[in-house]
Point group: C2
Chain length 155, copies 2
């Protein structure tokens, strides 16, 4: 990367303002795993009720989680990902890949993803949507693009 | 995703134990941008000396940054990414993509990546290393794999 954008324009800054703490990422991960209910999350994460309530409220307010009833009488709710929340999947997958590659720390087993399309254990790979070649730091540069003109036009 | 791994085995948990705060991600991003010196980082991020020193030490200890002299008499240092640090590039790129897609907040310009290989403004895409098809939440499941047997064998 080359150009230095103002700190507050950077989309990474803006993402981290919303989910920039460890618990938020772990809670989003848990909902992907299928851990969707308050008590189950609390148990899986070993998190206090107060912190969990606070983060759940923030993630709902940010439009990442939605609260959905799964039972009447008494009414009970679970948390599901909105489309905005589901779209964080590539962030979590690339974190998982890095953790597996650099931090195995002597575990005998590691957690990987199996691709149901081909049946293989995958190494997730980041490619350019246009030429399908790998995206690497040496091959990209940052550019500022008008908001309504970032659909792939050459600059 | 389907299987529920123990919280502490998850590679995302382990990643977040190292870089699971907002400043660490932003500092790694800054070094990718070319902001490599203490004072430049402090100015760009608006961070206190104390917090910056603390996070720099932690990121060095974690093997993500290395301290390299750029001047003698007086000796001055800058921070560069190790291979382990550079390998966080896909995490930052997927964060950038999400921030641009969901949090433009009325900015007239957005920060994007231009791929020098094809010259296009890219939408980063996550694909399976084997079949090159997109990786989506519905098409993957989590599996536990022996550490020395995760090179792509079918399970």
């Amino acid at each position: 990367m080359e150009a230095l954008p103002p700190h507050d324009i950077c989309p990474i800054t803006r993402l981290l303002e919303i989910v920039g703490d460890r618990w938020s990422f772990l809670m989003i991960r848990d909902v992907f795993y299928g851990v969707r209910r308050f008590d189950a999350m609390r148990q899986h994460l070993g998190i206090s009720k107060k912190v969990l309530s606070d983060r759940l409220a923030r993630l709902q307010q940010a439009g990442i989680f939605k609260k959905v009833p799964y039972q009447q009488k008494p009414e009970r709710f679970e948390y599901r990902l909105t489309p905005k929340g589901r779209d964080l999947f590539p962030v979590l997958v690339t974190m998982m890949r890095w953790g597996n590659r650099w931090l195995d720390e002597g575990n005998s087993d590691v957690l990987k993803l199996q691709h149901q399309h081909c049946g293989e254990i995958v190494e997730p790979e980041l490619v350019c949507s246009h030429c399908k070649q790998p995206l690497t730091p040496a091959k990209v540069r940052t550019v500022m693009v008008p908001l309504n003109d970032h659909t792939g036009a050459k600059v």
